[in-house]
């Protein structure tokens, strides 16, 4: 579990922090049927066949950078993070989205292990888009691309 966002690893640390928190706190709807080698929450889109639902978390870049001052090495970023919920139906997609949003909101001010305590400030939900993906036959993957952003200050 990431305890603090590192200056030289802030991108990876941010993703891993969110992954670990969601993995430990979001209920897997098929936990009894999922193989022990399969993950419910991942940090990349799956390359192999998976059992849905899953959640993927990736960096979505940054659209803001500022220096801490003219003589300073402190850097201020707004990191965008993509949290994609891949579900089997719309109800499941909505429920998982709600759980993710509630969890991110709840952990902001938790002492020591909360998102602000580790260095992820000013949570914002930038927006989301729904993608309905017909895999063939009767299987349709209902995914939601949720973008959130955090302010990160590094180099202190």
């Amino acid at each position: 579990m990431v305890s603090s966002i590192g200056t030289t690893t802030f991108i990876a640390d941010s993703i891993i922090y969110i992954r670990d928190d969601l993995k430990n706190n979001i209920t897997d709807p098929i936990s009894g049927k999922r193989d022990s080698k399969e993950q419910f929450v991942m940090t990349s889109y799956p390359k192999r066949s998976v059992k849905y639902p899953i959640i993927t978390i990736r960096s979505d870049g940054t659209n803001f950078y500022a220096k801490g001052g003219m003589q300073s090495e402190v850097s201020h970023y707004i990191l965008r993070i993509e949290i994609r919920i891949w579900a089997r139906n719309e109800v499941e997609r909505d429920e998982l989205t709600q759980e993710v949003l509630d969890r991110l909101r709840d952990i902001q001010h938790t002492a020591t292990t909360g998102s602000i305590a580790v260095g992820l400030h000013d949570l914002r939900v930038v927006g989301w888009a729904d993608i309905d993906d017909e895999k063939g036959g009767d299987e349709v993957i209902k995914s939601r691309v949720l973008i959130v952003s955090y302010r990160v200050i590094v180099g202190q």
């Binding site: 889109y45 870049g61 659209n63 993608i131 995914s143």
Partner: protein, 129 residues
């Protein structure tokens, strides 16, 4: 108009939107572009639309997304209000290409265009203000 080789190997024509075409489309909807901030915003929107098309035909970092040319030729600009414009695609598969699916990787034509050209877009919008 540019000719691009599509994924099936045949030549496809793509019409890169210029300011004249964009203004004609806006006027066809009984709207017009006013001076100053509205004109600057229109120029910014036109820049974004052109850059998205360049991304789709493979002239930027993203993989080329050209088969019949429908997607590249579907990029348009719509005026929503004074100094407010929307750059869009109206083909159904644009969402799948932009965000990816369980079978294809995301191409990010729109999002990467915005991130790559933020300073230029702000420059177009604020010039002369």
């Amino acid at each position: 108009m540019v000719s691009v080789i599509g994924t099936t190997g045949r030549l496809v024509n793509v019409n890169i939107i210029g300011m004249a075409e964009m203004i004609a489309t806006i006027r066809a909807r009984n709207l017009d572009i006013i001076e100053n901030s509205d004109l600057n915003a229109a120029k910014g929107a036109n820049l974004v639309a052109q850059e998205v098309q360049e991304s789709i035909i493979g002239n930027r970092g993203e993989p080329r997304s050209v088969d019949t040319g429908r997607f590249a030729n579907s990029i348009g600009v719509e005026k929503l209000a004074n100094a407010e414009y929307l750059v869009f695609s109206n083909v159904e598969h644009s969402k799948f290409l932009e965000f990816g699916t369980s079978r294809i990787m995301a191409r990010r034509h729109f999002r990467n265009t915005i991130q790559r050209n933020q300073d230029k877009i702000v420059g177009e919008i604020t010039i002369g203000l």
